[in-house]
Symmetry: C2
Subunit: 230 residues, 2 copies
DNA sequence: CGTTAGGTTGAAAAGCATCAACCCGTGTGG
DNA sequence: CCACACGGGTTGATGCTTTTCAACCTAACG
């Protein structure tokens, strides 16, 4: 049917692994929605009547504490799914979801998701394996929050987001620095200072570009906290 | 069959919700194992040929960084399951598992688990919902690591572990303080100091007993960081 | 008894947050 | 076309939080 959908499906770790039957059951109910930066996809504690597959852009999942602070839970990239947990259980969403860049999203009714799981054991297994992968990521995130200090978490983040570009290793921050800071569990000011301190470790940060000039030096910083003395 | 098993099954969020058919398939292959404090249940990067249900005691899941530091990922209590993710995927374990108190564990071969999932769609769904609940806990943990400072995380921990006892609210730390500190993402020294500072907030800590003398005061501390000024 | 493991305490330093000022590119309205 | 305000980001000064390192305590145990 609509060409965007099948291309999108390939990138989604859930839909791309679903059987043809499940896809045919799911996709007719899929709607495509576009969100501008700052748009809310859904709100904490509202009924999870739909789940989402991110086709492009970035979406943050967060809670708001009464003092107004945001606690950033997760950041979703293209291909990621969210709202599935709550939709499967027919519960309210456990957090807010907000686009941090312009984003295109595939929206599926919760009811259809549940019916597909009920009708296709293979699809349940796909969801299960996907859920394990998400949990893996959460474990890694917890480990880094407990074991690394701010500058190391940032170094790790940069390494993960680096891309080669005409022989140079560049990092384009996927969203604004305030959000990066929240994701890494630090204040924006600390992020700014950490970034300048990384100049000593192979990172050159200019106005709106970050280049890794010495990948090994950056690596050494990351591995150092991880380096044996025995 | 063996009486321990059925009693245990009721407490386990996975097995208690499995169908009778799945239980009959699983339980004949279950073995009961006891571990002393400090015993390893399994090691990081070894083949996950079995998964575990904790019947009593406490088990920590952790990684070791080359410098010898332990990064504590999760602490499992009675009824919790671990190793399922890896066993389902036939992958190596993603962390070490070690008993922090004497522990009794139900051990199931990975093969039987996978066969049960393959044979019973309902069981896959139970696993899926369980996996969601685990992820919920990880989200909460991440939020608290990012948004709360050490003393608040400790206050929260104490509140979660408090039990009424002849009208008094007592907290018995389930395992040694070094492990509690690692779980909360702080150094043992910081835990010790945080605990004494909590004396100002309705917590009396003696030699090996902790009493919450003013539950509201403790609550106030936890909610404070969460308190609106708008 | 001496030893050891787990825990506490103190002093000093590092790390990070906070608050305020400031910078700069962008957009808006006079 | 300019003045201005605004959001995002940076910088500096300051203080709180947490770590680090060392010493010390105490209950348990051989």
């Amino acid at each position: 049917m609509k060409p965007d959908f099948s291309a999108a499906a390939e990138r989604c770790p859930v839909i791309s692994r679903a059987t043809a039957g499940s896809r045919e059951r799911l996709m007719p109910h899929a709607r495509l929605r576009d969100f501008a930066r700052g748009d809310m996809l859904y709100s904490h504690d509202t009924p999870a009547d739909r789940c989402h597959v991110l086709l492009s852009g970035w979406v943050k999942l967060f809670r708001v504490r009464p003092n107004g602070d945001e606690a950033l839970i997760r950041i979703q990239k293209s291909g990621d799914t969210f709202g599935i947990e709550e939709a499967m259980r027919d519960e309210p969403y456990r957090h807010h979801a907000c686009a941090v860049t312009p984003s295109r999203v595939l929206v599926l009714p919760a009811r259809v998701l549940r019916e597909t799981v009920a009708g296709d054991p293979e699809f349940a297994k796909v969801l299960l394996l996907h859920s394990f992968e998400v949990a893996d990521g959460l474990h890694d995130h917890i480990e880094s929050l407990k074991a690394h200090k701010a500058i190391e978490r940032l170094a790790h983040f940069l390494r993960d987001h680096a891309t080669r570009h005409e022989g140079r290793i560049m990092v384009t921050l996927p969203y604004d620095k305030t959000t990066v800071a929240a994701y890494l569990g630090m204040q924006p000011e600390s992020l700014s200072r950490a970034l300048s301190r990384l100049a000593q470790h192979g990172v050159r940060a200019t106005k709106d570009q970050i280049e890794i000039t010495d990948f090994d030096a950056l690596d050494a910083l990351i591995e150092q906290s991880t380096e044996g003395q025995d």
